[in-house]
């Protein structure tokens, strides 16, 4: 699905990703964990094409294509999705219009016919149930005045509607109470298939009780310090990050 090789990225003069290599195959869920400031969110943003980061070296091959050579919208149309840590409010644009526009752009890119507003309503009604959101939210402006939990559920709704091949969840669990966390995790689990993959970025192990990863990678100071199975997440929960940081001999 995606092959990341020695990826380095900077903001201004500050290097944040210092050589990341990672392979995620179809049907897999990988978790990216790590202390604050380790570069987890940067990795997520760089993969989505955020213009604020400069990739200085390395490569990212997604489904055989050079991902770094694609505009953010081209990446989305090709099936890469980033669930934002801080979803953006867009007052004045309804969720319905936003979602349908995005859906149709992705459909167009796949050579599939666009959905008219009524057809789209059918599609989205089904997905709304998945994240326990009310249909009335479609008429509200995108994320405007949403609670933290609603914003995160809206990200998962978008994920469900756009049906990406590679979904990157950036701290989707932050700011969620346990019920909302379960709802979001259940939604993701129902979307798991043999032909898609998830990259779950999280600071805490809690989310991984519900979304069980195949692999866990610990990021420290812009590098993957350790990789392992799902039990690595439990060890981190018990021991914290300090022991890995200490093993690396670098400050977090």
């Amino acid at each position: 699905m995606i092959h990341i090789s020695d990826l380095r990225a900077s903001v201004g003069d500050k290097e944040i990703l210092k050589g990341i290599s990672l392979d995620v195959g179809a049907g897999e869920i990988h978790a990216i964990m790590g202390p604050n400031g380790s570069g987890k969110s940067t990795l997520a943003q760089v993969l989505a094409g955020h213009p604020g980061y400069e990739v200085t070296s390395g490569s990212v091959i997604y489904q055989g294509k050079d991902l770094l050579d694609m505009e953010p919208e081209e990446r989305a149309q090709a099936g890469v999705f980033l669930a934002f840590q801080y979803p953006v409010e867009i007052p004045g644009v309804s969720n319905a219009y936003f979602l349908r526009t995005a859906y149709n752009e992705v459909r167009k890119a796949r050579g599939e016919p666009e959905a008219d507003p009524l057809e789209f309503l059918d599609i989205v009604a089904d997905r709304l149930k998945l994240v326990d959101l009310d249909e009335a939210m479609l008429q509200r402006s995108v994320n405007a005045g949403f609670s933290g939990g609603e914003k995160k559920r809206n990200e998962i709704l978008q994920l469900a509607v756009l049906d990406p091949a590679l979904a990157i969840l950036d701290e989707t669990d932050s700011g969620l109470d346990i019920d909302a966390l379960r709802t979001v995790a259940d939604g993701v689990n129902k979307l798991r298939r043999q032909d898609n993959a998830f990259l779950v970025v999280t600071h805490y192990q809690r989310l991984l009780n519900y979304i069980v990863p195949d692999r866990v990678h610990v990021l420290v100071d812009g590098r993957i310090a350790r990789s392992g199975g799902k039990e690595l997440a439990l060890e981190l929960e018990a021991r914290g990050y300090d022991w890995i940081t200490a093993e690396q001999g670098v400050g977090a």
């Binding site: 919208e73 989305a76 934002f84 867009i90 995005a102 752009e105």
Partner: protein, 434 residues
């Protein structure tokens, strides 16, 4: 040129009562004394009226023909059941109008009001709009030349079931001409009405519309006034709305401006009773080398009143927007609560906005705030949309529309709000559904 108007006046055979003729003579004399303003006049600092002052406009010629119903309906869809008066090239078009006098509201042309409502006119007409201030000579010119227009009187306690649509059109014969439409709105005590004043073009170029609207909002009444300036792109438009508010009255104004090469829109309200509210909102969408200047003035003359202003502008290419918001608070107007906001979105490096709040407060127990922002497209929101597959150009247009939609949402008439949202969306995105 000033001399052209003075000469035209000597040839004028003014209609209306004798008292009005006397006021017309005073008005033209005032114009003769002070002439057109220049940018040295503080109220015209950012807008030079020279393109109007240096041109010669003939009295507008009669229309070559009248538009059909489908043409009119397309200008403001969904309004087939509204009360409507139509004027083409400054002339009342009775066959296109639906002046429903039933239901407690009188809607008639100015010429009809001369005959049927002489005392109403004598009490209100020319009483609200200032012709003495040198900055307001366009009102003086309108007063001297006013020939046709609309008179609306909402009877005490009446709520009009449908809005009243006053439609001022031009056609090809308007080219190079000037019209001076005059509107008088009287909301008697306890009444509630919505008036939509629309200036649009079906043809004609380089013409001048010089409009004046006077409104009196009686005790406890509410008047919604929505003004649409959609003149031809090379036309000139000067429009003044002068409002007098009595106790516990509410005046809610919306100014939507997308047309004309040069336009100046004045919205003035005087709060002359306790417990009044004035809400002045607006949206201007400009491109090319368009110039649009909004001047608002709210006079708090009595205690316990509030005023709210939200003006937004979307400026592309080398267009130039001006917003000047004046708020005067008299010494006796304690507990005044005023808020003014002007937000502008610049879509081009060459676009320009001059925004100037002007608060003059002579009472000590008041709350008055103002704020202005000038910005470009929000890059965070842009990336969010792109990350969902929406291409750059479309995302930018959608964000531009969203900026404008915030103020359009304040329009209380559903069909009109939806119509203007569609117009704005179409202008920005080429589609009509959001």
């Amino acid at each position: 040129m000033a001399t052209a108007f003075l000469k035209q006046f000597t040839n004028l055979e003014p209609e209306g009562p004798a008292w009005l003729t006397a006021i017309r003579q005073r008005a033209i004399a005032r114009f003769g004394d002070v002439g057109f303003p220049t940018t040295r006049n503080e109220d015209w600092h950012f807008t030079s009226p020279a393109p109007i002052a240096e041109a010669t406009f003939e009295p507008m010629r009669a229309p070559t023909g009248l538009p059909d119903e489908s043409t009119l309906a397309a200008l403001l869809p969904g309004t087939a059941d509204w009360i409507r008066l139509v004027f083409v090239n400054g002339r009342f078009a009775p066959t296109l109008s639906r002046p429903d006098a039933a239901g407690g509201v009188k809607v008639m042309s100015l010429a009809a009001a001369y005959r049927e409502e002489p005392s109403l006119l004598e009490y209100h007409l020319t009483q609200r709009a200032d012709i003495v201030d040198p900055a307001q000579v366009f009102t003086a010119i309108n007063t001297a030349f006013m020939a046709d227009g609309a008179v609306v009187q909402v009877q005490p306690g009446v709520s009009t079931p449908v809005p009243i649509h006053l439609l001022f059109l031009t056609d090809d014969a308007a080219t190079g001409g000037v019209s001076h439409p005059r509107v008088l709105l009287v909301a008697e005590p306890g009444s509630n009405a919505t008036v939509v004043e629309q200036y649009a073009s079906l043809g004609g170029s380089r013409y001048l519309t010089n409009a004046v609207t006077e409104a009196w909002v009686g005790d406890g009444s509410t008047l919604h006034h929505i003004r649409l300036q959609q003149e031809a792109r090379d036309a000139f438009h000067v429009g003044t709305t002068a409002v007098h508010q009595e106790r516990d009255s509410h005046f809610l104004s919306f100014s939507f401006a997308t047309g004309a090469a040069l336009s100046r829109i004045n919205i003035f309200s005087g709060l002359h009773g306790r417990g009044c509210g004035a809400t002045l909102n607006g949206l201007y969408i400009l491109g090319g080398s368009q110039h649009c200047d909004h001047q608002t003035r709210i006079v708090h003359a009595q205690p316990d009143c509030y005023s709210r202003e939200l003006y937004k502008g979307v400026l592309d290419d080398a267009s130039h927007g001006v917003f000047n918001g004046k708020v005067y608070v008299h010494p006796e107007a304690q507990k005044t609560d005023g808020k003014q906001t002007n937000n502008t979105l610049l879509l081009s490096e060459r676009a320009r906005i001059d925004t100037k709040p002007q608060l003059e407060i002579f009472a000590d127990d008041v709350k008055c705030t103002h704020g202005a922002t000038v910005g470009r497209i929000d890059e965070t929101a842009l990336f969010y949309m792109k990350s969902r597959g929406i291409p750059n150009t479309q995302a930018r247009k959608l964000l531009t529309y969203a900026f404008a939609a915030e103020v359009l949402e304040t329009i209380p008439v559903d069909i009109l709000r939806d119509g203007l949202e569609r117009m704005a969306l179409e202008r920005f995105t080429g589609t009509t559904d959001a």
